[in-house]
């Protein structure tokens, strides 16, 4: 039986939804946009085809022969590699303070995914976050301020509808197979405990399997479950899903969050506060070196709290 609150929500949401504006978009515009994108990709594929032909059929056969003899290659004939490439550090450019050790990877489709610990204003203070950026997506998970957070704080699955990744892959794994719920399996050699696969239709039932160098299965996992298949020094702790949302984990880390200090700031005041916060963090790192990252987070947090107390709107 519904409570009064649930009834209010059902009725209120239905009423609020009617206030949504009409979509000012014709189906033809969608088609045109997609066609334009496909033409760009087609042009790129054409250029690649020329290069491939120039390489010669013999060369391709030689590559295939080499692959067949690769001990780490999968045994399934339908299972092909989805390569992952480690990009140079210069690829990573963040406008906010970034802890040394960030990693940028190039996926099979040419997209980049970056993993970093960054500093950021966080409610009434300053915090460090584990951040992942891919295409137009970015996700952050707040971390405790007073600890040296590793780049991959804990094993996690995540992604968007066009990306599936697994961070914290066991160090002994030399190959990870990704089995989409719909589509063909692909495999990849993890880099720094990370695997990331472009996917056509992300699904919670997608499966990852990690193998060691001898082809033994170490871990098999889907979005909701992790199953340790063989014994060994593999951490079989619970795996969280990192699809989005730093809000709930943030509550887990910080407890109830105080929003009162920023609740009444207008846009200009908010920009002033964020500029001050990042400038303070950059200044601390410049003065003390990157090794002082964790201390700088702490001192910046304290400075931001003081700044906010001194910059509350009159009458608030």
């Amino acid at each position: 039986m519904k409570t009064t609150l649930e009834e209010r929500l059902s009725e209120g949401l239905a009423r609020s939804a009617t206030k949504a504006p009409a979509l000012i978009l014709a189906v033809g515009e969608v088609s045109t946009h997609v066609a334009r994108r496909r033409r760009r990709r087609s042009n790129l594929r054409g250029a690649l085809a020329v290069i491939t032909i120039a390489a010669g059929v013999g060369g391709l056969l030689a590559i295939r022969a080499t692959r067949t003899g690769d001990a780490s290659a999968p045994t399934s004939a339908t299972n092909v590699e989805s390569p992952l490439r480690h990009l140079p550090d210069a690829t990573i450019r963040y406008s906010t303070p970034t802890k040394p050790g960030a990693i940028a990877l190039e996926l099979a489709d040419g997209q980049h995914i970056t993993f970093a610990i960054t500093g950021s204003p966080f409610y009434d203070g300053y915090s460090q976050q584990s951040t992942i950026q891919y295409d137009t997506y970015a996700t952050g998970r707040a971390q405790a301020d007073n600890v040296d957070v590793p780049l991959i704080p804990e094993p996690a699955l995540g992604g968007t509808e066009t990306l599936a990744y697994w961070t914290g892959v066991p160090a002994t794994a030399t190959r990870v197979e990704y089995i989409p719920a719909a589509g063909k399996s692909v495999w990849q050699t993890p880099i720094a405990g990370i695997t990331a696969f472009p996917t056509a239709a992300h699904n919670p039932n997608d499966t990852f399997i990690a193998y060691d160098n001898d082809g033994n299965e170490l871990i098999r996992t889907t979005w909701a479950t992790t199953h340790l298949v063989s014994s060994g020094n593999v951490d079989n702790g619970p795996m969280h899903f990192d699809y989005s949302s730093l809000s709930d984990p943030a509550v887990d880390v910080y407890g109830p969050i105080d929003v009162t200090k920023i609740a009444d700031l207008d846009r200009a005041a908010t920009e002033g506060y964020t500029t001050f916060a990042n400038a303070t963090m950059f200044g601390c790192l410049a003065a003390n070196g990157d090794a002082a990252w964790t201390n700088c987070i702490g001192t910046t947090d304290a400075a931001v709290k003081t700044y906010l107390l001194d910059h509350q709107p009159t009458g608030s």
Binding site: L5, E6, R8, L9, S10, G12, L13, R15, S16, A17, T18, K19, A20, P21, A22, L23, I24, L25, V27, V30, S31, V34, R37, S120, P121, F122, Y123, Q129, T136, Y137, A138, T139, G140, T160, E161, T162, A182, A200, A201, H202, N203, P204, W223, A224, F241, Y243, S244, S245, L246, S247, D248, A250, V251, I257, I262, A263, R267, T270, Y273, T274
Partner: protein, 166 residues
């Protein structure tokens, strides 16, 4: 009438044209429900339109690979609406204020206002539960979280809303 015209035209078409006819039918039926869903998640007409437009483009690009376009579309819209709130807490806070100021109507809306106080995942779970009327399994599939997490998130969201709405 429009549906019949589209169906008749499809009889003479093949290949990509068929895809576009199928997509046009899907577009016609899904666009306003998706706008409403996006509006409840963002409270911003502009962000709703951007999210829905981007999602339709993605759906058409993947059309031949998608078994259930409606589910894919819903997931894409929710994901885009949530990514809008994603970056940092401060950015989220600022955007929520902007969204309130720019909202489609000047009339007070206690439910929409209350939703803006919820963290993004809680807001999504509430909207998917009480507007889309999805069960916990379906919500878990949309958000990519377990059903247990859906239940606990909904529990927290209701507790928070109770405090706000009284």
């Amino acid at each position: 009438m429009m549906q019949n015209a589209i169906t008749a035209a499809a009889a003479e078409l093949t290949g990509d044209d068929i895809v576009h006819v199928e997509f046009a039918r899907f577009f016609a039926t899904a666009k306003q429900p998706m706008m409403r869903l996006a509006f409840l998640l963002t409270a911003s007409p502009q962000q709703s339109e951007d999210a829905v437009q981007d999602s339709f483009i993605r759906v058409l690009e993947k059309w031949s690979q998608i078994n259930d376009p409606a589910s894919y579309m819903r997931r894409a819209v929710v994901n885009r609406c949530m990514s809008w709130h994603r970056h940092t807490a401060v950015v989220r806070r600022t955007q929520s204020q902007v969204a309130t100021a720019d909202s489609y109507t000047d009339q007070p809306d206690e439910i929409l206002d209350a939703l803006l106080h919820l963290p993004q995942r809680r807001r999504a779970v509430v909207v998917l539960t009480y507007y889309e009327h999805l069960d916990t399994d379906a919500i878990g599939a949309v958000l990519g979280i377990s059903t247990a997490t859906v239940r606990s998130t909904l529990h927290r969201a209701l507790a928070q809303l109770k405090g706000i709405l009284g």
